[in-house]
Amino acid sequence: MEGGFATYEQLVASDYWYFSMSLDMTEGLLGDDKVLYQWATLIDQAADSPDAPFTIGCKRTFGDDGTAVMDFFAQDSTELEALYPDSALVTGAVWSAQAPDLRYEDSDVAWVGTAADGTGAAEHAPAVSASATEGNKKYTCSLAKELSKIGRNPADFEKTFAVKMGARIYDDDSATTFTTIPMSETSYFLDQPPSYATAAEGAYALFVSSLAALAILLMAF
């Protein structure tokens, strides 16, 4: 799992919170048409008025590195396990029909996947590093959430989420049974997005460091 921000210079260009989930496994072990569905449930740990928990899901096939279908599920505190592999809302359903009453349509959320033309999360999430294991490949699926600069509420950040994540492998889009990749658990601190460092700021920083170096040289003499 990798997560972070992609920031852009323009005021009117939104920044993005990207979230990449990868399954690093032997390349070619599974057929290209098999469906890899990776998901992560994020639970705000704030003691007072926590945000509602949610799950982001990302679907791809093993043979298509360029497309990522995004799922967003809104939950409440009684539905934290809705997307877990043994959930009744998951078992016996095709991947696209999981927890249908919790699932939001794409137009209702700020999260995006990657379309076949490459637009979407792939534009914003940096490429993940190659697998360190010889013969393996990272089957990555990236999602990104739009963070408008205008109207951004600082209170939406500096939140710690408990993250439960897992993956399922389906034979194809119509399969209702799946192979479960074991769940993992971690935490994620969503910081304030960094400001975009402009070229002018970089030049200023270089100027300052040059001055500092010059000062040290002068002091040495």
Partner: protein, 609 residues
């Protein structure tokens, strides 16, 4: 409350309790049978616990039905185009007998509905008397008046309007109209030494030519301006027969005299009198294209930016609001968008707008239904400037029946509020409601205010929006502020309905930074030169042999078969080559084949993360 004489040299003690029944609540109390039990206790002393119990008496009685009916509610949206706004200041001690300042204001203008050919224009006068709150004790009668005469017409009689409000009882407000030369002045022979309702009766105009009151109580009810001052408003309106065209004789310059009196009660004949003021008003034809009134039409496109600042969408189950819904559409959405309209030219005023949107199953859209969108905002301190509510009401299918309401202060807008339950949409929450909201609706924009088909691909959905906006005075809000917001929508079957359906009501934050126009806002977003910042990278290892056992076996078999096939092919090729070449090269070729097999086997260790 004192003892009163009774028969047989006895005395009697009476006690009267009364409660005001507002007309709109009369139905709940009147035309009903009541059983009333009266009892009493006579205590030995004020602090005594010893008393004599009087025998209780039960009587039954019937309260008859109210002898009035309400006029139909006028819900046609009209645009008020103010032509004059004048205020006059006085020392309150001199004229009203209470230390402090006083101010009388007059607003005059037309009300028009240019988008409905059948809607008549109206002329309105709004009066306001601001004075120390002590001036306005319950029962006093505030009489504000004006006389107007066309400056170049020396033949016609002047007309006068008296606007009467009683402190504490907005229901008895009254508007009087006079045609004649008798002055409205306090020294006038037909005014002096008369009660307010007897003055100038000689010139009183017939009802058909008279100004009328409005249905909105806010215009006739005292409200607090600040901790020490209050304002008594009053509105007089006269409807014309149709629209006023350019040739209508009403247009022109008028000489106007404005005055006011405060009577101690209905029988008072020596009121406190405000000094008379003279002014001129020019009545001009109302603007028929409201975009010229409400929009900054002179700002070039490159100097205007509309910026969405807040966009929250709340999903709820359709059955939670409409239990009888049987369609396939399971959900509905309430959307609240707020934003700026910013202008980069001098003289143009920036705006803030709230756009409310309801996306719901098309099968549930009912023409004529009243949708009441409301939004409450409050800062942590519930400060006066940053706490209030705004509502946008629209009739489904008729954008000309849009209404905007606004409240100041901490008003409970929830559906279970006592000031909402059982009341018509326009009667709820009287306290804090502004007679003239600062927000207004550009209801003539049909792309916003009419029902639109939703672009949603699943199910049949429609979208009804209602939008209000406000001009932003410079420095009106602090640079940054965080407000707690609440939003909901209520559905009333008609203007007379006192029951309603409601969406779930949502709470969320609004963080606002004051914005100004900048050329940056006109740029097209370009997603190049991103700066990625990785915050988290974690890997979780697991054993794949149990998970992919079958796949691994298949994979290995396939790999083995492929390797063998490749080796066989290579061997066949080698044999063919051997037949044609020198046999001394054979040892090197076998070495390459073996190395190839080993590499594939090493790859098949199957780690995963």
């Amino acid at each position: 409350m004192a003892l009163l004489p009774a028969t047989n040299s006895k005395s009697k003690q009476t006690c009267v309790a009364q409660v005001e029944v507002p007309p709109e609540e009369a139905e709940a109390f009147f035309d009903k049978d009541y059983a009333l039990t009266v009892g009493g206790r006579v205590y030995e002393a004020k602090d005594s616990t010893d008393f004599t119990e009087l025998a209780p008496l039960t009587v039954t009685y019937h309260i008859p039905a109210a002898d009035f009916t309400f006029a139909p509610f006028e819900d046609q949206t009209t645009d008020t185009q103010i032509l004059v706004e004048e205020s006059f200041y006085y020392g309150a001690e001199e004229y009203l007998g209470v230390a402090g300042e006083a101010k009388q204001s007059l607003f005059a203008g037309f009300e028009t509905q240019p988008y409905d050919d059948t809607a008549s224009d109206a002329l309105g006068f709004a009066f306001e008397l601001l004075a120390p709150t002590e001036v306005f004790t319950p029962g006093k009668v505030v009489y504000q008046w004006l006389t107007y005469a066309k400056a170049d017409d020396f033949k016609s009689n002047p007309a006068s309007v008296g606007c009467v409000t009683k402190v504490g009882n907005p229901f008895v407000a009254e508007v009087q109209t006079f045609n004649g030369t008798r002055p409205m002045s306090s020294e006038g022979s037909t005014v002096v030494n008369r009660t307010w309702d007897q003055q100038n009766v000689e010139d009183k105009a017939p009802k058909k030519d008279s100004f009328e009151i409005l249905q909105d109580l806010e215009w006739y009810e005292l409200y607090k301006e600040n901790d020490s001052e209050s304002v008594m408003p009053c509105f007089a309106k006269v409807m014309y027969d149709g629209k006023l065209d350019a040739t209508n004789p009403i247009f022109g310059v008028y000489n106007v005299t404005l005055g006011g009196r405060v009577y101690a009660n209905d029988s008072d004949t020596s009121p406190m009198t405000l000094p008379e003021q003279s002014l001129q008003i020019e009545f001009t034809q109302p603007e028929s294209d409201l975009s010229n009134v409400y929009e900054e039409k002179d700002v070039p496109e490159e100097k205007a930016a509309e910026v969405i600042y807040l966009d929250d969408k709340f999903r709820f189950k359709a059955l939670d609001v409409w239990p009888a819904h049987t369609g396939d559409e399971k959900f509905a959405w309430l959307r609240v968008r707020g934003g700026y309209k910013l202008y980069g030219t001098s003289g143009a005023e920036d705006r803030w707008f709230w756009n409310f949107g309801l996306e719901y199953p098309t099968a549930l859209v009912q023409q004529g239904e009243q949708l009441f969108f409301w939004l409450k905002y409050a800062d942590d301190a519930l400060s006066e400037d940053l706490t209030g509510a705004v509502a946008c009401k629209i009739e489904t299918g008729d954008n000309l029946k849009t209404a905007v309401s606004q409240w100041t202060g901490d008003v409970n807008m929830h559906a279970d509020s006592a000031d909402v339950v059982g009341k018509k949409w326009y009667k709820q929450n009287k306290l804090g409601k502004m007679s003239v909201p600062d927000y207004y609706a550009l209801f003539y924009k049909e792309d916003i205010f009419t029902v639109q088909e939703s672009p949603r691909t699943t199910g049949g959905y429609s979208v009804q929006q209602c939008e209000v906006e406000i001009k932003l005075p410079e420095g009106a809000t602090p640079d940054t502020v965080t407000l707690t917001m609440e939003t909901g929508v209520r559905f009333y079957a008609s203007n007379d309905a006192t029951t309603f359906l409601t969406t779930p009501e949502k709470e969320y934050d609004w963080y606002n930074e004051v914005m100004e126009f900048s050329n940056e806002l006109k740029e097209v977003a370009v997603y190049e030169d991103k700066q990625p910042t990785k915050a988290v990278e974690e890997a979780f290892e697991f054993d794949v042999t149990n998970i992919f056992g079958a796949a691994i076996a298949e994979f290995e078999a396939a790999q083995q078969a492929a390797a063998e096939a490749a080796a066989q092919a290579e061997a066949d090729a080698q044999a063919a080559a051997d037949a044609a070449a020198d046999s001394s090269d054979t040892a090197d070729a076998n070495g390459n084949m073996v190395a190839g097999m080993r590499s594939r086997q090493e790859a098949a260790t199957y780690s995963a993360s």
